[in-house]
């Protein structure tokens, strides 16, 4: 059991180093920002450092040629699936950084620490997607959550920020405790914390050992909390509402996406689809998430809360693809994540640009008559909402189509039918927002935007890029599909 017995030298090859450089770049960026703050606080400089380092990291990941599959024992695995999602997370974080600048420039609080936390949280999520060991899993998860605690409560002068932060803190700490206990039970059963070794221990069993079921159950509580699927969804609406808008979209995309990828990796490795008990648990969670998320969203009067509840049902959709399994299922998960990221960042991005220095644009009144005031903004917001609803020509439609295809191939008829019903329910509340936007309204006094237009220029470009991506993925999905296929099966 001891590592001592065979004195193992840790040798990192050149390929290993190249593989791990993206993590180093993120860490160095965080430290660089720390020093930069120590010298002089300047929002713009720090924003540029953040954006450039995320961009450089992405370019490095895409361009530098590394072997298709690198493993750094015992913690990390760099395969095509991991790298694809690593890149996805980086580019999403970049888009969020772009949108954050205008948002935080309006506020009087100190803005600089936000970027450190953003980079560290991104690093945590990236660690998750490449981890193949409970140690790296837990550390990545904690880096993500600890950064998120303070990001959620970041705007201290706002009313709900502390409440949201504390709620997230307590729930996340509690779910981490469950998760650790689950890991301990799994370690006790299998004698290893590495996914591969757990899988090879489980391989001869056709039914899971009892302690293993308990361990996996505890593990799933932790994961379910982070995903915000139904029995563990209580925190979502309040945290979404209380957090600053860019942070809300970070939780919705990067944080959840990282966990989804981790779940897929772990589940595939232990070959979870052959155990009926696990499949039943996930099916129940998926069905409950789809229904409860959508039905609760119908009753909300606050756009942030609507998007919060709709995210619950979207996680349910992803679970359908995940349950379908097989290569099509994994492709569908990856594709849906891309579509969901584009759409969610876009929708929250529009709300971000509508917010003023006092509060976020989150009520129906903030968007009432938007078509008459700012037609372009309203049109883009509608496009994002329609994509969330899964209307053809948008990325969301192709994503949902992919999931349905995967579900049909996996003979998950019940889940597929429920998914279709829920898309119909979802359409209703998305269209309600659009109809409110198109209500004609007499001009009301609104505080004029006080920032220089150049600040909004960056947000505008980001949102334009997101819109182009939305329709490009929606109309020509084959390029993205080939890319995903190539990366996953390389």
């Amino acid at each position: 059991m001891l590592f001592l017995s065979e004195r193992k030298e840790v040798v990192m090859s050149r390929e290993d180093l190249l593989n791990i450089v993206p993590l180093f770049i993120l860490t160095s960026a965080a430290i660089l920002i720390l020093f930069s703050i120590a010298i002089k606080r300047n929002h713009k400089v720090i924003y540029v450092i953040t954006a450039l380092s995320l961009l450089a990291d992405f370019i490095f990941l895409v361009t530098v040629d590394t072997p298709a599959k690198g493993i750094i024992e015992p913690l990390f695995i760099f395969d095509g699936f991991g790298k694809f999602n690593f890149g996805l997370i980086l580019i999403t974080a970049l888009a969020l950084t772009m949108l954050s600048y205008a948002y935080f420039e309006q506020r009087e609080e100190r803005k600089e620490e936000y970027y450190i936390l953003l980079i560290l949280a991104t690093l945590g999520a990236c660690t998750l997607v490449i981890s193949k060991h409970f140690v790296s899993l837990f550390l990545g998860l904690e880096i993500l959550s600890v950064s998120l605690y303070s990001m959620i409560a970041y705007l201290r002068k706002r009313k709900r920020s502390d409440e949201a932060g504390i709620k997230y803190l307590i729930m996340a700490a509690f779910s981490s405790a469950f998760m650790l206990f689950g890991m301990a039970l799994i370690y006790y059963t299998t004698g290893s914390m590495e996914f591969g070794a757990i899988a090879s221990y489980l391989a001869p069993f056709s039914k899971l050992p009892l302690l293993m079921i308990a361990g996996l159950g505890f593990l799933l509580i932790g994961i379910g909390f982070k995903l915000g699927v139904v029995p563990f969804h209580m925190w979502i609406a309040d945290v979404y509402e209380g957090a600053p808008l860019p942070v809300t979209s970070f939780i919705a995309t990067v944080s959840k996406g990282g966990i989804v990828i981790l779940l897929v990796r772990f589940f595939l490795q232990i070959n979870g689809h052959q155990y009926t008990s696990l499949v039943v648990i996930f099916s129940v969670v998926a069905i409950a998430s789809m229904f409860i998320g959508n039905l609760l969203a119908l009753q909300q009067q606050n756009i942030k809360r609507i998007l919060a509840y709709s995210s619950i049902s979207h996680m349910g959709y992803i679970l359908v693809a995940f349950l379908a399994g097989g290569s099509l299922g994994i492709e569908a998960v990856a594709f849906y994540l891309v579509a969901y990221f584009i759409t969610t960042v876009g929708a929250f991005g529009i709300l971000t640009t509508l917010s003023d220095s006092q509060r976020d644009a989150e009520l129906f009144d903030d968007v009432r008559g938007l078509f008459w005031r700012r037609p372009w903004t309203a049109a883009i917001f509608s496009a994002m909402l329609l994509s969330l609803a899964g209307v053809p020509l948008t990325a969301g439609f192709v994503g949902e189509f992919y999931i349905v295809a995967a579900g049909v191939q996996g003979n998950m008829w019940l889940l597929v039918i429920i998914l279709v019903i829920n898309s119909a329910i979802g359409l209703f509340y998305y269209i309600r927002i659009i109809s409110i936007m198109s209500e004609k309204q007499e001009a009301i006094d609104r505080p004029e935007v006080t920032l220089k237009p150049s600040v909004y220029f960056i947000s505008g470009i980001t949102i334009a890029a997101l819109v182009i991506a939305l329709f490009w993925v929606g109309i020509f999905p084959d390029r993205l599909m080939t890319l995903i296929r190539f990366l996953i099966f390389s």
Partner: protein, 175 residues
């Protein structure tokens, strides 16, 4: 050794239950220290002396710091001595004292009996812990450093300024 393990575990459970049922923060902290000491003995008996020592240095040590903070934050001047007397009066202190003295007896027994220390065959020395931390798990150690950094940056930002309104349900009471 098995009996020592079970006694220490029982003390850990009892002390922790007492922690979460106390109304006074300081009294809860007293039980928390006892709970950590008991867990340290559990670790020792299970064959991890290094972790046992860490448990005492880090956790029990942190509790002492926490106690000091409580006294500092309450900012008691004249009445602080009286307050402290009340906190650590005989009736309150007797529970933690009994539990702690059982632990002391256990420890003396371990030290003097000369029995092989652990329940398990191989004791994991500090060297082994270091070897695996700075061997295969070195990236994990670096990640923990990053974890600490995010915690510190967040705490610095959140702790920097005071906020008046704490919670929407508490607003009315405060006014």
């Amino acid at each position: 050794m098995a009996i020592i393990f079970y006694m220490a575990s029982a003390i850990a459970v009892i002390a922790t239950v007492m922690v979460i049922t106390r109304h006074n923060l300081v009294h809860a902290l007293l039980y928390l220290v006892v709970s950590f000491l008991a867990v340290a003995i559990v670790f020792y008996v299970l064959g991890a002396p290094f972790i046992a020592v860490l448990e005492i240095i880090i956790y029990a040590g942190a509790i002492v710091v926490l106690l000091i903070f409580v006294i500092m934050m309450l900012n008691l001047r004249q009445e602080s001595v009286a307050q402290e007397k009340q906190w650590f009066s005989g009736k309150i202190i007797i529970g933690p004292l009994i539990l702690a003295s059982i632990l002391l007896v256990e420890m003396l027994y371990i030290l003097t009996s000369g029995e092989p220390a652990g329940l398990s065959e191989n004791m994991i020395e500090a060297k082994a812990v270091g070897m695996s931390l700075y061997g295969p798990y070195v990236l994990g150690v670096e990640l923990s450093g990053i974890l600490l950094m995010s915690g510190i940056v967040g705490a610095y930002h959140l702790g920097r300024q005071k906020k008046k309104v704490t919670h929407r349900f508490l607003e009315k009471k405060e006014e």
